[in-house]
Amino acid sequence: MESGGTLAVNPDEIREPLFEGKPKPHDVTETISNVVEGKPTKLWYATLTLTSMLAGWGIITILYTVYTGIGVWGNNQPVAWAWAITNFVFWIGIGHAGTLISAILFLFRQRWRTAINRAAEAMTIFAVICALIFPVIHTGRPWVAIYWLLPLPNQMEMWVNFRSPLLWDVFAVSTYFAVSAMFWYVGLVPDLATLRNRAKNVFIKYIWTFLSLGWTGANRHWHRYEKAYLILAGISTPLVLSVHTIVSFDFAVSILPGWHSTIFPPYFVAGAIFSGFAMVLTLMILARKLLNLEQFITIKHIENMNKVLMATGLMVGYAYGIEFFIAWYSGSPYERFVFINRAFGAYGWAYWTMVTCNVLIPQLFWFKNIRRNLAITWVISIFVNIGMWFERFVIIASSLHRDFLPSSWGYFSPTWVDISIFAGTIGLFLTLFLLFAKNIPVLAMSEVKGILPGSQPSHSHH
């Protein structure tokens, strides 16, 4: 400190660095490319075997469902489609962190996103694939589902109903999938060019040449590339928010007590980001360990994600509370009954599991020691994943199983087929993620290089 009262310290030096040590651009290339170019470990093969067996079992049970019919599921009246909708909304929610980290944090100039955005985007795409399985197979006849879902005239020359939120969903989710995939691929192109230029094997070089589209890194190309990335981020930001808003319309536009709620759109979006970040943490804590990425994914990154988790966790906690308030304030006896039943009725166990996992446990993140503790963070992130699955289950099952007529009340229990298909999607998700983490640069190399200390002009001559 100088005596003149001015602070002779560079603010960048006070801030906690985003990288351990002082990596150079070449270190980034080496570390990340070595993961792709090296041989996978035994542990990787062992895990892949397990997850792909789980995925295979899921595919077998899907085929079994299609062959025998939807009757093998636990659907009944009044609880139709509880399991399939829960899983669909759960997986779509998981898919929200990727585009949020990529787009919204990009627009907010949050440089810490570069260490995790690639993996989070990949996760988004895989989660949306898992989600899309459920609306397709719940039709029972997936090969004709295309006529029921897409705007194509059927054999009666009739069109789909554009006034239904279910069709809005088709458009929202497929647009989300397409835009996320493009965003991910555009981000990958410069890194694929790096791999192309490093490839020794001619066959592998062909693959990278093909996939990298001839990227050269010319500055005139970067100029348009950066503009395109900015535009994609700009249009993806409202897109992320719209997808879960529209998913919530599936419920909120109905007249069923417990679903007919105006808080649903923001509540669903917050919950989706909450569950998405939890899944990013679950996977990234493992990936940084297994792929030796500790230098680039630091405790600071984990702590930042924990802060997002805490903020969105408080938002869903607020939504749970305000739903009870509105149930009382509305004066509607049906609404009031649904919420008392939700907490103390037949599905009370699911409700309190949800509250414990989503509202109570994440409060531990108020403590800095816990935010920066990898093991505890990992365990909490899994609790949040469980809690967010139960949130969707509670909304669907507890609202439906006690509808307006006591004569039609029922109770939903999943069958072994229900459970197998859901487990199968978890297996599929993990299998795709493992294949990704090994074969594609798991960190956005060109973006990380661009924010390394000393990598940009200092503009000292201005």
Binding site: K24, P25, H26, T29, P151, P153, E157, M158, W159, V160, N161, F162, R163, L167, W168, F171, A172, T175, A178, V179, M182, F183, V186, P190, A193, T194, R198, T209, L213, G214, T216, G217, A218, N219, R220, W222, H223, R224, Y225, E226, K227, A228, I231, L232, I235, S236, P238, L239, S242, I246, F249, K449, G450, G454, S455, Q456, P457, S458, H459, H461
Partner: protein, 178 residues
């Protein structure tokens, strides 16, 4: 037949790249570029790169998406096969908004990505600089200046002197197979 692609040189310091870009442009060169592993802030201004028309392409394709969604919902619901569902109007603005929004985003994204690659002249199988070993460094950690031999100012001797005076290392003329 072998043809001369132009002159290349290597830089390692981002500040030198910026001042070199300014000087090369000041010397009258127009067909030159820098190949970098990541975008360098301020290089566009130093090189005098004009703003891209990409935002207008994005705007146009986005608008096309809005239009397509409106026409699709109006034509199928109110013209081709009008159906009364819940007593709702055949076509109304409000329930059409979600599809209009989604198709706007979808068309805009497709237009932006295709537009960006098309303006960059990609995809292509080769670059005329790819035989230069410098080229391999540019996706790793170094910056390569390229002065195209088709530039009106190009002169093997003078260009080399200029690049070397600006701090470029290992300046050389690159050939490619046409």
């Amino acid at each position: 037949m072998k043809k001369t692609a132009g002159m290349t040189g290597l830089f390692h310091d981002p500040d030198t790249v910026l001042s070199a870009a300014t000087e090369i442009r000041r010397a009258g060169y127009r067909q030159f570029d820098f190949h970098t592993p990541y975008p360098l802030h301020g290089l566009d201004d130093a090189m005098g790169v004009k703003r891209t028309v990409l935002p207008w392409i994005a705007f146009g394709t986005g608008l096309l998406g809005t239009l397509a969604a409106t026409l699709l919902q109006w034509w199928t619901g109110a013209v081709d096969y009008p159906l009364i569902i819940g007593g709702k109007p055949f076509f109304a603005f409000e329930p059409s908004i979600p599809i209009m929004f989604e198709l706007t985003v979808l068309f805009c994204a497709i237009g932006t990505v295709i537009g960006m690659f098309a303006l960059n002249g990609l995809p292509r199988w080769y670059s005329k600089w790819q035989n230069d070993p410098h080229f391999l460094r540019t996706t790793d950690d170094a910056f390569m200046v390229t002065v195209d031999s088709e530039d009106a100012m190009y002169d093997a001797g003078k260009t080399r002197t200029l690049l070397e005076s600006l701090g470029a290392e290992q300046v050389r003329e690159v050939e490619y197979e046409d």
